[in-house]
Amino acid sequence: MENKIYLDHAATTPTKPAVVEAMLPYFTESFGNASSVYELSNNNRKAIANAREIVAKAINAKDDEIYFTSGGTEADNWAIKGIAEAYRAKGKHIITSQIEHHAVLHTCEYLEKHGYEVTYLPVDEFGRIRIEDLQNAIKDTTTLITIMFANNEIGTVQNIKEIGDLARANKIIFHTDAVQAFMQEDIDVVDMNIDALSISAHKIYGPKGVGAMYLRKGVKIGAFMHGGAQERHRRAGTENVPGIVGLGKAIEIASSDMNEKNARQRRLRDRLIDELLEKIPYARLNGHRTERLSNNANISFRFIEGEALLILLDMNGVCGSSGSACTSGSLDPSHVLLAIGLPHEIAHGSLRLTVGDSTTDEDIDKVLEVVPGVVERLRQMSPLYEDFLKNGSKE
């Protein structure tokens, strides 16, 4: 880390030392297989039960509605494939949005190849679905609505309760990918009529490789991981006890000061947004101005490309992220930025900075100092900027 300013908390977070501390005994001492008969494993079973209770409480669910997984991706895959399969006799239509994480989108595309029909709802310029669009998309054969709680790129938070109510009124299962929203937004699965929900530990200062799915009691689901009788016969595989303990501990820590942390993050985020837009011309904020995650700033700078921007920022000690194609190994820019209506060349030049627990005002000062110069440097190199300056009046 040496002096790097890490502003990519939406990508992943460092595991808190207290979380690692809580995990350690379950590697070397309390290592027994949680399914075994002997007493050596009692401690593990208790640790898993305790973590399950913590997860449940955090979203107002019941303990036996929580299933541990290997991460957010598995929770999304399982929820969507498992629910689609369990209700296929009723119908094979799924509704999702155009701005979901690939863990949801690619799972839906997989189902399309296997005889399911999927509606990808558009979003408005701020990244929110329109409730009328959802209403209109519902058919007799719709069994599942999967709409993310908050978007990982632009930070926009959906009106989840409105979606949940509509789904419930139409007797359709509602799954939400809450990987980014968890521990930033208030989540109440009962009040919001959420039937299934995905979370991931490494986004909330817990370890990588563990997550959880909530599934409301009574909702049917096909198994995704077949094998042993773990997780009440629903998710096979020897339990990742240290990981599960780490997830629990991370939630415990995050819950203790969620409101203050969010207020702090919101202030830092707002400094980033307001001052970057003020300092740099031809820049725009992506996502909703207020209905957005407390840690997320996403800004497009015209005429430049994101990966080049990231490397130069990295050279200047700032770690950020971009919706640029070049960072993903594909040639198209972020589907999210396109969905909110950005033209390709602007979508390529976006910068996502996500603050976190360790971010300070000094960090923000430094970033505000560095970014304008870097953007200017790349613009000087850009044939698009050259053309714009020459033909400026036409635009």
């Binding site: 994101g306 040639l331 390529h348 000087q380 050259e386």
Partner: protein
Amino acid sequence: MYTEKVMDHFMNPRNMGEITQASGVGTVGNAKCGDIMRIFLEIKDGIIEDVKFKTFGCGAAVATSSMATELVKGKSIQEAMTITNKAVAEALDGLPPVKMHCSLLAEEALHAALYDYATKNNIVIDGLEAPKADIHEGEEVEDEE
């Protein structure tokens, strides 16, 4: 993920800029794919006396532009025509597989600038074709299955 040479050419690009009264200018790529490369040539007596570039694109795109201009500067048109995308990539000690298209782009930009020069001067350069509209077609990442 980049070699030191790539990083050096990205951080300290050679020949970045414009030539206002260029003998030939070529622009290739498109903003949709995230790379646009423009090469300016100043040619005298069949020799590339000066060359500049502007690039909208990733680190590899900038570095290949920089390296391509280095490789052709001072060369004859014929010599410049023999410089392939592979040569550019090799001169940079290699590129990640997903970035090989950037080196292709550099080759194409050079050819486009030479074509512009040839057209303006009504000459024919052996082996030189009109630039393609989009060099990215047919390229895609490995399929999931």
